[in-house]
Amino acid sequence: MGYIDATFKTFGITLKNLFRKPTTIEYPAVRRERAERIRASFALVHDANGEEKCIGCKFCEWICPSQVISIEATPKRESPVTGKKRGYASDFTLNLQACIICELCIQVCPEDAIIMTREQEQPGFCREDLVLTMDKLYANEKKTLAWHTGAALMEMQNPQRGQEKPAAPAAATPAAAATAAPAPTEDKPA
């Protein structure tokens, strides 16, 4: 009788799973360990001199497929720290309402000014809660930052990689240097 045999086997499977350890993460109490490359939210960062990195070039605003970034740039002016002439963003808004976390803004940023954080934004009671204003973005800098930076991604995607030794990235940011893109040799089983 196929029925009897199969029935007992099925009982066996469910019984086996009954004694397996549940894979549940008890969420509010326990947080799952996420991947190293996890991308969750955004932050704007300062450079080593304590100056805002964003120069208001609007590349991210332009490439965003969902068009959630809006930037107001100021004309070039002299930096109070370095004395060089550079641009600034006077307003930077990233609207998480429609963000698809595609990472393209990080990818195109020439200054590594916008980077990803590893912490999710909390759910909100209204749509406005989900708008990352400039203040919020700069506040996010203090959260755990992800490795994603424009320079790191560029380095990873460089078409010439592996063919000639690339010069060490001169302007590697601390964030990028800390979590540099893994070298392709590391994961190669011989």
């Binding site: 549940p22 969420y27 509010p28 497929p65 740039a73 963000c99 749509r127 204003t133 690339p166």
Partner: protein, 254 residues
């Protein structure tokens, strides 16, 4: 948004009954506490799972996060649900159905907009067939950002909803004000995508400016340095003159 929070007020007849009898009205506070606790901890979900977020919703109900831990099970019938989780894009064709199902749910009921599509319509929000956010049709209590949000985020949203229910039942809830300074970004339209050029605001001059603003510090490993992108042309290309390919052959062969 189109749907107002204040449209929804519901007092269970139980309260009325309790208040009618002298002496028993004192019990309302205690009863209220119990009922709030019950409502918070037994939210049966009606999954309005239309697209990608629906899969993450399923993942949240599955063993990783297990919404059953907080007493939430999914019901197929709106009549037995307390919480509608709108997970996915709602189209013009679907919206009347969502509204109807929402109306079929008995009070007290709540709604969670899960993911960008349900919050604002995501990048589809300007497309002829997608409604720009589910709060156009039904009132939303909690918005969970992400595309799609992780299962944990959904649980966080449900915990957030419990906060809201507690505040509301205690009479401490004040609806969030619209803040004008951020309001402008809530504009549910991708103006730049729509106009003839993809971005009116980025003119050739601005692009030049952007290029000049770029510091040479970004030190890419040596690669065939592209000539600074032909900015003028790139910009001109975005003006939608149906010029080149407008003939069926595209003008590139024959």
């Amino acid at each position: 948004m189109a749907v107002n929070e204040s449209d929804r007020s519901f007092d269970h007849p139980l309260y009325e009954t309790l208040e009618r009898f002298p002496g028993l009205d004192l019990a309302t506070t205690a009863v209220d506490k119990v009922l709030t606790w019950g409502a918070n901890n037994s939210q049966w979900i009606f999954p309005m799972a239309t697209s990608c977020c629906g899969i993450e919703f399923m993942a949240a109900a599955a063993s990783l996060v297990d919404l059953d831990r907080m007493g939430s099970i999914t019901r197929g019938s709106p009549r037995q649900s307390d919480l509608m989780v709108v997970a996915g894009t709602i189209t013009v064709k679907m919206a009347p159905r969502v509204k109807r199902l929402w109306d079929q749910m008995p009070e007290p009921k709540w709604c969670i907009a899960m993911g960008s599509c349900a919050i604002s319509g995501d990048f589809y929000r300007d497309i002829y067939s997608v409604i720009p956010g589910i709060d156009v049709a039904i009132p939303v209590d909690v918005y969970i950002p992400g595309c799609p949000p992780n299962p944990e985020q959904l649980m966080a949203g449900m915990l957030r909803l419990q906060e809201k229910v507690n505040l509301k039942r205690a009479g401490l809830w004040s609806p969030p004000e619209t803040r004008p300074e951020t309001g402008k970004t809530i504009e549910p339209a991708i103006k730049r995508l729509l106009q003839a050029g993809r971005d009116e605001r980025i003119t050739a001059a601005q692009l030049d400016q952007a290029m000049s603003l770029m510091l040479p510090a970004v030190d890419l490993p040596p690669r065939p340095e592209p000539e600074p992108e032909p900015t003028a042309e790139a910009d001109a290309g975005t003006t939608e003159a149906p010029a080149a390919p407008a003939t069926p052959d595209g003008g590139h062969h024959e």
